[in-house]
């Protein structure tokens, strides 16, 4: 595997009138092409901060991130962040429009995804007519439309009900596997991290440091449902849980 991203010794602090808060401390991480990584850790430990730094939205204080300057990043957030005043199609192509990349290829790909996720018939409707699950699917299409080299998923399923959560996480899993996308997923859900990832990175309480890295080797990669049935699923689940449990002690 080729290195897509190399994170060397990065730290980040936030400054308030009350004092300085060290959010993440000396994190080292290498992300290979096609790898699916989950970041898990206690609430407020700095998972999302790390993602923001990787995306370039947040500046780091110390350390360096080595990445190709043309590396395209797709960011999927907790909220679908759909624009209510744009149609579903206009939302789907928003990233392409901003990046001035409305080529025939990309538009055909958006059409393909809209059909794949049964949103084709709603193309000219507005997001208010969609269910929570459909909105998150549209957010996924919008993210994939720009053909990102790496997908940053910041708890994208957390606002969904259990059924939608399973369905959409499976959609995302299948498409990232099919298209061999590199993914960094931030999640609170150990089950999700286990079935979704090739590697789970466990972060400590703030300031976040890498506590443990667990490589997940489940045999079946066809869907997250199948991965959940794997005989080793519980073993990995327990490993992650133990590491997280130690965080609180």
């Amino acid at each position: 595997m080729n290195n897509l991203l190399e994170i060397n010794n990065i730290s980040k602090s936030y400054h308030t009138k009350e004092g300085e808060i060290l959010a993440i401390k000396e994190i080292n991480l290498t992300i290979n092409k096609g790898e699916i990584i989950s970041l898990v850790g206690p609430s407020g430990c700095g998972k999302s901060t790390l993602l923001s730094i990787i995306s370039g939205l947040d500046k780091l204080d110390k350390g360096i991130i080595k990445k190709d300057k043309d590396l395209k990043i797709g960011y999927m957030l907790q909220s679908d962040a759909l624009l209510p005043f744009l149609t579903i199609y206009e939302n789907a192509i928003l990233g392409l429009k901003i990046q001035n990349n409305l080529t025939k290829d990309r538009l055909n790909y958006v059409d393909y995804l809209l059909k794949l996720y049964n949103l084709d018939d709603f193309k000219n409707n507005y997001p208010s007519s969609l269910s929570g699950g459909m909105k998150q699917r549209l957010a996924l299409i919008r993210t994939l439309a720009i053909n990102p080299d790496i997908l940053l998923l910041d708890e994208p399923f957390s606002a969904l009900d259990q059924q939608s959560r399973l369905m959409i996480s499976d959609d995302v899993y299948k498409i990232v596997k099919k298209e061999k996308k590199t993914v960094i997923l931030v999640t609170h859900n150990i089950e999700e991290a286990t079935v979704f990832s090739d590697k789970v990175i466990i972060l400590s309480k703030r300031p976040a440091i890498i506590k443990n890295i667990i490589n997940i080797n489940l045999e079946n990669n066809s869907s997250i449902y199948e991965r959940r049935k794997d005989k080793d699923f519980n073993k990995y689940f327990d490993l992650i849980w133990k590491d997280l449990d130690n965080n609180d002690n």
């Binding site: 960011y75 962040a81 624009l83 209510p84 005043f85 901003i98 990046q99 507005y126």
Partner: protein, 262 residues
């Protein structure tokens, strides 16, 4: 359409019709009662006028070719002040949004000017601008501008943080963030600001006309008071109420068009 849905729609329409009926009933009852009380001498016709006297006064104004000129003058002043207030308010709100440091500096001044009774500035405005239409527009502008700045600026600040993050993750330029996200997201606040602005502008214009004008509805009211023609005063007030209602309804129509999908 199912029978249940037809029933629901019918129930909805009946309720709307009932509301309209009672609104109309209140207005008609008020006018009839007013007319009776004045005609029976319980209320003084000289002080309180009456609906029939107001109608006659308006007919006299129309016959004398005065009626529409006064309305036109007031509407023109309202429109100029409204457009100026809205445009300046929008531009200043944008500058404050783009320069948070500037916004922090000006915050207490905006609050201070907003709470100042603008009518107190009337004599000063007349001395600076003269007893002309400029004073009226400046008075209206002082009243509507600060409210516009504050409400539009707050609308910009209310832009969804996730949507902002999304735009930044697409490497959107500042201009793209502003034109494709911040401004369209603030339509609702801008429209609310328009509603407030239209009534405040009307107040400002009438206040200005009270002070300096020789034409306009405000002038009619002041003139009526000076010559003790209270029919004219009441006519002016009724015309103002109608103008205010029509302007407000126009904004509501605009609101429905702009916000139909939000």
């Amino acid at each position: 359409m199912t029978t249940e849905h037809k029933k629901y729609l019918l129930k909805f329409k009946i309720e709307q019709a009932k509301i309209f009926f009672f609104q109309l009933l209140i207005i008609i009852s008020f006018l009839v009662l007013w007319e009776i009380l004045v005609n029976t001498g319980i209320l003084s016709a000289f002080i309180y006028s009456s609906p029939s006297r107001i109608v006659n006064t308006i007919i006299d104004l129309i016959k004398a070719n005065n009626f529409f000129i006064h309305i036109y003058i007031t509407l023109k002043e309202v429109l100029i002040s409204f457009i100026l207030g809205l445009s300046l308010g929008f531009i200043i709100a944008l500058i404050l949004y783009e320069c948070p440091f500037l916004a922090k500096i000006f915050d207490p001044f905006l609050t201070m000017i907003n709470s100042l009774p603008k009518v107190a500035l009337g004599p000063l405005i007349i001395i600076i601008c003269g007893a002309n239409v400029k004073s009226i527009i400046l008075m209206a502008l002082l009243i509507n501008l600060i409210i516009n700045i504050i409400s539009i600026y707050n609308g910009f600040l209310g832009t969804n943080e996730y949507q902002l993050k999304l735009f930044k993750s697409f490497n959107a330029t500042k201009w793209q963030i502003l034109t494709k996200l911040v401004i369209p997201s603030s339509y609702r606040t801008i429209i609310s600001s328009l509603k407030l602005c239209v009534s405040q502008t009307l107040i400002g214009v009438i206040m200005g006309e009270f002070l300096v004008s020789k034409q306009g509805i405000g002038y009619l009211i002041v003139y009526g008071k000076q010559v003790f023609n209270l029919n004219l005063v009441m006519s002016g007030i009724i015309i103002l109420a109608i103008i205010s209602f029509v302007l407000y309804k126009l904004i509501v129509i605009l609101e429905k068009k702009l916000l139909k999908n939000i």
